[in-house]
Amino acid sequence: MTSSASALASVLAVESDPGGGFVSPTIAEFYPPALAEFSIFGIDFTITRITVISWIATAAILAFLVLASRRMTVVPRKSQFLLEGSYSLVRDNIARDVIGPKYKPFVPFLGALFFFIIANNAMSIVPFFQISPMSKFAYPLVLAILVYILYNAVAIKNKGLGGYLKEVAVPPGVPIPFLVLVTPIELLQVFIIRPFTLAVRLFANLFAGHMLLVVFSLGTVYLLGKIGENFSFVFAPFSFLMALFMTFFEVLVIVLQAYVFTVLTATYLNGAVEEGH
């Protein structure tokens, strides 16, 4: 484990009961053993189960997009209907409604983001995989950095560096004395808090979802092993039902977080393309 991993472990670790009781799952869940290790130009790469899951998710969504968009018919088949529904969600409800009339160039990027995130998120409930690559901080971080570069580049291209900084630091219509408060908050928000929260929001949701599932699944197994003691026959089914319920809750989180990430990207791009007031 890396140093940040052990720091994470020290925060989340729960002392295991010496009496052979229930051992809570720890952060080690997210550090599976390496399948392959290699080094290129002094940078160490480790291929783990999660990396492979990410490849599988990406290949699956690519295969779906390619297969569903072949032989398009006027009356859509089931796969084409699903594809058209999700694509028009991104194009009409996210890109056009949020960005406005200049939405066209951003549709491919937003669509790619949405489908990539939803495929990777979905891996948190697909049987035998059961962990989302997005619950490793690196994946959402790279996506957030991409978005950060994009909306800043678009804003600088549209307004010029000076104009962009002026619009951020001195929002129009704010009385001069309030600028003491508004300017630092706006600068902090646009250049630091936006990419940070974009990455952490996606990561935290998937991370917490996986931990919940692990806790209730392990709890069920542990309680079933202790059946006949301390009303375990009551709590084991309860724990199992909670695991089931949390799985369905994960479906909601998977779709919602992919949607929120894409909508927020579109919102930031909207700020970058629209003319100053």
């Binding site: 720091a7 020290s10 670790a13 928000q189 935290a204 929120v260 909508v263 909207n270």
Partner: protein, 78 residues
């Protein structure tokens, strides 16, 4: 001294619980206002959605900062 109750693990989890109260209320207010605005004037839904998401993201940022602070300041401790 008699020990009545004892807490193991990290106090960071308690801190995060406290830190999430404010943002929880804030995000609730933002979406309540959005729903109210949409109910009163349905055609403004598309117009105000952007601001609703911006406001919710900004208040949620506080909860997310609360989430990472224990990791940052708990790093050096056993």
């Amino acid at each position: 001294m008699d020990v009545l109750a004892e807490i193991y693990g990290s106090i960071g989890s308690v801190g995060y619980g406290l830190a999430a109260i404010g943002p929880g209320i804030g995000v609730g207010i933002v979406w309540a206002a959005y729903i109210q605005a949409t109910a009163r004037q349905p055609e403004s839904a598309g117009l105000t959605r952007t601001y609703a998401f911006l406001g919710a993201a900004l208040s949620e940022a506080l909860a997310l900062i609360g989430l990472v602070v224990p990791f940052i300041f708990g790093a050096g401790q056993p």
